[in-house]
Symmetry: C2
Subunit: 197 residues, 2 copies
């Protein structure tokens, strides 16, 4: 088959463009496509085109949307904004189904290594939004790594003089995990931030 | 985003149709598609449609092809046929790059549990091919499990009276593996089939 059949090889090659998909997995995917019914494959192809054509950033929060303003920005009345690095983070927090506030996607973090300064991510837009909309609280939900911490601290310094409450996602032992397997930094943080029960 | 944006959700759903792809992986794939350039996405969609539309079984060997007769059947002159369960097996053997004979894809094995008898797989076509084309040898390359063994034995019984040499892929310790980790059945087989060096 290696010397056989372009249609199959093209499809296998297409699948290897996906993250962490090697030849073996791409082959499995390709063969599974041949066994799907025709409508499923048509919908699959259509959804690829549609997603690429329609998706862009929400003018307000920067999350992906197929409209001008995303549903969350349009429908939710809230004085709380949760600031995240990427659209994926919005999806993760939405799945937890406990947050009913707004979002702001930075599309990156301050990272000298990647040559990214504060002006390269959507901080200016955040400040404008916060001041124009009487926001009470900004929750910094950037990742708990160096870039995420630096970005959170930087934004906090800008917002606090404006009288905005700035909070950070709690850090500590992961739910469902074992204390014995937690790393030292996490344990130190969990001890520092311990709370009365 | 869960209440946001059909284009993204449709694409995520489409990816979950692939084997062993859950929501998390589908999301990763979907976000990566949004970051691909437009041509790559168009080619991806096109290759899905093309594969589904063009691929069918080769009239001779039963492997996938986008023509009437696959390249291997068309180009190779050989009196040896390797019999496999699925098109994937052809691909695997071709990758080893050491076999230059023909193939015959059974599209299944004899399996009473799945209610599959000899007439449900492409055995009749094999017999016709072998007798009409003066084949010297048939290599049974069905899997080394019960169904594969039963199918190999069944076909051997049909072919031997016709004076055809029927062989089976060697079974034994896997190359690069450890003797200590080999299972009992494999070790027994490897001892029985030991060869002089």
């Amino acid at each position: 088959m290696s010397e056989n059949c372009d249609s199959l090889q093209n499809l296998i090659n297409a699948f290897t463009n996906l993250p962490s998909v090697g030849t073996k997995t791409a082959e499995r995917y390709a063969y599974s496509v041949i066994n799907m019914d025709e409508d499923t494959v048509k919908n699959f192809a259509e959804s690829l085109i549609q997603a690429k054509q329609n998706l862009h950033y929400c003018k307000t929060c920067g999350d992906f949307t197929d409209k001008d303003i995303c549903n969350i920005c349009e429908r939710r009345q809230s004085k709380v904004i949760c600031v995240v690095k990427e659209p994926k983070d919005v999806k993760a927090i939405e799945k937890a189904k406990n947050y009913t506030g707004l979002y702001h996607v930075l599309h990156g973090t301050i990272s000298p290594l990647e040559n990214k300064g504060p002006e390269d991510i959507r901080i200016k837009e955040l400040i404008t939004r916060v001041t124009e909309n009487e926001i009470d609280e900004v929750i910094m939900a950037t990742n708990p790594d160096i870039e995420g911490e630096v970005t959170a601290t930087y934004i906090a310094k800008l917002l606090k003089p404006l009288g905005i409450k700035v909070t950070r996602l709690a850090q500590g032992i992961q739910m469902g995990s074992d204390v014995q397997y937690a790393d030292e930094v996490t344990l130190t943080k969990a001890l520092q931030d311990r709370r009365e029960i």
